[in-house]
């Protein structure tokens, strides 16, 4: 009998096509704390990337993948734990700026402390991937990651300052 009852319920339970339905329950955005809205790794194409920016990162997403930076772009990130983490930054030196600046030195900082440096002898794509000592990081808290370029290009037309092309930055295992 229960089988038959379930069958009857199933028959009446499905909305057949083209039948009017009422509106559903209306959602609202969940309560959000600043820390919980941050992540450990940010791609510039992420829709919420800008909430991780501290300074020197352009608000306009270029080609759906990257953003211009100034001299010292910095991001804030939230870390659950701090064991066995690597700081990862994907960036590029643009051909146009490189012609003006020549080789540039790029330095990686975590929580304001220098972690690594690299000299970029040509334009093109680069990546930092450096292990980070646990003591340098804070678990369940905001941490910052920054890269600094020693030379930037200033537009003679509008004075805009262009540093590097930033694709992603953050921490990974």
């Amino acid at each position: 009998m229960r089988f038959l009852a379930v069958i009857l319920l199933a028959l009446t339970g499905c909305a057949p096509p083209d039948t009017w339905q009422p509106l559903p329950f209306q959602r609202s955005a969940p309560d959000d704390t600043p820390a919980s809205s941050l992540r450990a790794l940010v791609r510039m194409s992420d829709v919420d990337a800008s909430r991780h920016f501290v300074r020197d990162i352009d608000s306009t997403l270029q080609s759906g993948a990257w953003r211009w930076t100034g001299k010292r772009p910095e991001l804030k990130l939230f870390l659950e734990s701090v064991e066995n983490l690597k700081a990862v930054v994907e960036y590029a030196v643009a051909g146009d700026t490189f012609r003006a600046t020549g080789p540039v030195n790029v330095t990686l900082y975590v929580n304001g402390k220098r972690l690594a440096g690299r000299r970029c002898e040509a334009d093109g794509r680069y990546q930092f991937q450096e292990a980070v000592a646990q003591g340098l990081l804070r678990a369940k808290a905001e941490n910052t990651i920054a890269i600094e370029v020693d030379k930037i290009w200033t537009s003679p037309v509008d004075g805009a300052k262009m540093g590097l092309i930033l694709l992603s930055a953050g921490f990974t295992k």
Partner: protein
């Protein structure tokens, strides 16, 4: 002992039922073939009985026990179990000895494998998983979240019978009985019709095939299905000698049971019907009477499965043909994508790779039949023989669905027919010195330690079993941890979640070892939607950053229709529909009504004010798809905005409106594209949305999309890692201030 006892009892009940059924038809059967035919015939009877008990929610071990004992007693009292008929024409002694030499070690190998704890992929996932669920519920349950549970389960119900009295391995042993019955059927058929050596050779080919071995000694159904197909073929051949309508009915019942066992095996029905109708017509036996009897009997076996699916899933053939039977359980686009993926396995770049793969490599098509099947073209040499022609015809017909799924085991329905067709001309050589040694070579090649010389080690094939685990001297746990990839995380989920928990997974965990309600992301529309929600924050293309705006002069509107006018392959989706008047959003109210002629079941997701849910057409766009909004009372509107994801390039829209007088007109056919605003924490929003749909837990493997993101950003998601094993993490979605009411 319980395992062996349960399986033996199930097989004994089937045989008893089969003997009773065969007694009711006027067939002149030899003693051996009566025994061989009784298992598949009785399986149809027992399966039908279990179906009825499941429908009545009476699937209890004691009910099965009573029904089984009653069946055996009935067969005993009516004399059905007594030896009947003459012995079959003899098999040469050399062949008898060869068969004994081959079948005894292989039989023990398979027995040991079947007795081992079940770790086959599909067996541990759904064949046993769904049956275990039925057993817990004492009958059928409406399962809308696992498309495999909607397939016909005629053979699986035999496993349910065995499972209720024994453990998982009892099911594999029941399947093994069909692997033993199949050579008996081949040899019986061949001995009756005068080519016993060919039958013996084909039996060796089939029985020692690494694919038949591993499949037939696991809780799969393929070997049982081909045994049923061969039974239909056998009975049709017998009908030509005894064209009695009672035999026709038996053929119809068995052909219908083929459908009940596996959808693709329904080909037995047109085969049997064509032969019976044509022969009855030519011999003036009353072709309509025979055809009607056959079809009616077949429908009797098929209809219960169709009705079950029709009533519970709105599609009698679920999970197939959803385009013709649209329903909220399986999306059309998902079915098409799934079928396409089955037609072309990963790594199979050309169909020309398939012969080598299915015969001896096996790594890309999940198994291989064995090198002996390279000899199948020899069958062409025997086409002058009518038996060869019948066998080739049946083999080609039953194998005709192969290209809908190119896995090697989908050739199993054709293999025994083609093996026997090939063996007939081969054994016509007037000397034992070729077929006999060849049979020994075939068997040697099929032995697990020898397959390394030609097959890929990655292929699914029978391996040397662990006899200590088979006898439970070694713990079941240890073997499963060793051989079943996801066993540890499965048990961890079982131990760390409440009994009523619903768990979302992106890789199926073996349901045979999990009593929780598992929702696999790719097994149902519900799973598809949950995955879409959870992946939205991880995939820029899914986030509704697009904005399509229809602008028009302010006017009173009572109804709106957003019509899609292009044809293409894209799916149409809308995250949110918003109406505006003079720059302000027109507030939605309780009088609003919505509808659509494409996937109406999800339409609410375009009106729920959530950026992580979206209505999707879930079928390729076609002109005329539309969404309607009834505002109840006319309202002033001058813009309609659709917030959309950026993964639909072919969609073309126009807007129709109905004014206060009830007149419809085109409002705008030139929407303006733009960008939607920013959203808050999409991760938390998505997690809460999933939770509101009754899913408090999910399992993600590190290798899966989002694995690292969930681990690194658990606070942002509002999830807590509960336990980790096998490279996977079980997360609990925490409730929060933004928790939505349960849907």
């Amino acid at each position: 002992m319980a395992i062996l006892g349960a399986a033996t009892f199930t097989v004994a009940v089937s045989i008893a039922a089969g003997r009773l059924a065969l007694q009711a038809v006027p067939l002149r059967l030899y003693r051996g073939e009566r025994w061989a035919l009784s298992l598949p015939t009785g399986a149809a009877c027992l399966s039908s009985l279990v179906f009825a008990l499941c429908a009545l929610k009476a699937a209890y071990p004691w009910v099965f026990l009573v029904a089984g004992v009653a069946t055996i007693l009935a067969a005993w009292r009516t004399g059905a179990l007594r030896h009947q008929g003459d012995p079959l024409p003899d098999l040469p002694v050399a062949w008898k000895r060869t068969l004994a030499l081959i079948f005894v070690p292989f039989g023990l190998l398979y027995l040991c494998h079947a007795l081992s704890p079940e770790y086959s992929p599909d067996g541990s996932a759904y064949h046993l998983g769904v049956m275990a669920r039925y057993l817990r519920a004492h009958g059928f349950e409406r399962i809308t979240t696992n498309m495999y549970a909607n397939l016909s389960q005629g053979v699986d119900l035999l496993y349910l019978f065995a499972l209720s009295l024994g453990k998982n391995s009892a099911a594999a042993l029941v399947h093994l009985s069909f692997l033993f019955a199949l050579p008996a059927l081949l040899i019986g058929y061949a001995r009756r019709f005068g080519f016993p050596e060919a039958g013996a050779f084909a039996a060796v080919m089939v029985f020692t095939s690494p694919l038949f071995g591993v499949d037939g000694s696991s809780a799969y159904i393929d070997v049982a299905v081909v045994a049923l197909l061969f039974t239909v073929f056998y009975l049709v051949r017998l009908w030509l000698e005894t064209p009695d309508v009672r035999v026709t009915v038996l053929i119809g019942l068995m052909a219908g049971f083929c459908y009940a066992a596996k959808y693709t095996a329904a080909l037995a029905i047109p085969y049997a019907l064509a032969v019976v109708a044509v022969v009855a017509w030519r011999r003036r036996l009353g072709w309509f009477r025979h055809s009607a009897a056959l079809v009616t009997a077949a429908l009797l076996m098929m209809t219960p499965w169709m009705v079950k699916n029709w009533l519970w899933l709105d599609n009698p053939f679920s999970p197939l043909f959803n385009r013709y039977f649209p329903n909220p359980q399986i999306y059309i686009a998902f079915e098409e994508e799934y079928r396409a993926s089955m037609r072309r396995y990963e790594g199979v770049t050309s169909y020309w790779m398939l012969p080598a793969q299915v015969i001896f490599r096996g790594d890309l098509v999940a198994g291989y039949l064995g090198p002996a099947f390279a000899l199948v073209p020899i069958a062409l040499l025997g086409l002058r023989n009518p038996h060869v022609r019948w066998l080739v015809l049946a083999g080609l017909l039953f194998g005709s669905t192969y290209f809908s799924n190119v896995g090697a085991r989908f050739l199993i329905p054709a293999a025994p027919f083609l093996a026997l067709a090939m063996a007939i001309p081969l054994t016509h050589i007037r000397s034992h010195w070729i077929p006999l040694p060849l049979a020994l070579v075939v068997a040697w090649l099929g032995w697990p330690t020898n397959t390394q010389y030609y097959a890929s080690p990655a292929a699914w094939a029978i391996a040397m079993p662990d006899w200590r685990a088979a006898l439970r001297i070694r713990s079941e746990e240890l073997l499963l941890k060793e051989r079943l990839g996801n066993y540890r995380i499965t048990r961890a989920v079982e131990q760390n979640t409440p009994p009523d928990a619903r768990i979302l997974t992106f890789t199926a965990l073996p349901d045979a070892y999990l009593s929780r309600d598992q929702l696999v992301a790719y097994e149902s529309a519900t799973g598809n939607v949950l995955r879409d929600i959870l992946y939205t924050p991880l995939t820029p293309e899914r986030v509704p950053t697009g904005r399509t705006e229809f602008r028009f002069p302010l006017r009173p509107i009572s109804q709106l229709r957003i019509e899609q006018i292009a044809a293409g392959k894209d799916l149409w989706s809308i995250a949110e529909v918003r109406l505006y008047a003079q720059g302000k959003e027109v507030r939605r109210n309780a009088r609003w009504r919505i509808r659509s002629n494409a996937n109406p079941w999800d339409l609410a997701m375009a009106f729920d004010n959530s950026p992580v849910t979206r209505w999707r057409s879930w079928e390729a766009i076609r002109p005329g798809m539309h969404i309607d909004i009834d505002l109840g009372d006319p309202a002033l509107v001058d813009a309609v905005v659709l917030e959309t994801s950026n993964d639909q390039y072919e969609v073309r829209l126009r807007l129709h409106g109905r004014d206060a007088d009830g007149k419809w007109s085109l409002v705008s056919d030139s929407p303006v594209a733009g960008e939607a605003g920013q959203y808050g924490n999409l991760r938390r929003t998505a997690a809460l949305e999933v939770k509101s749909r009754g899913v408090d837990y999910f399992v993600v493997f590190d290798r899966e999309w989002g694995g690292e993101d969930f681990r690194m950003n658990s606070t942002s998601w509002g999830i807590t890692p509960v336990v980790a094993a096998d490279g996977a993490v079980l997360y609990r979605i925490e409730a929060g201030d933004g928790t939505l009411p349960r849907r």
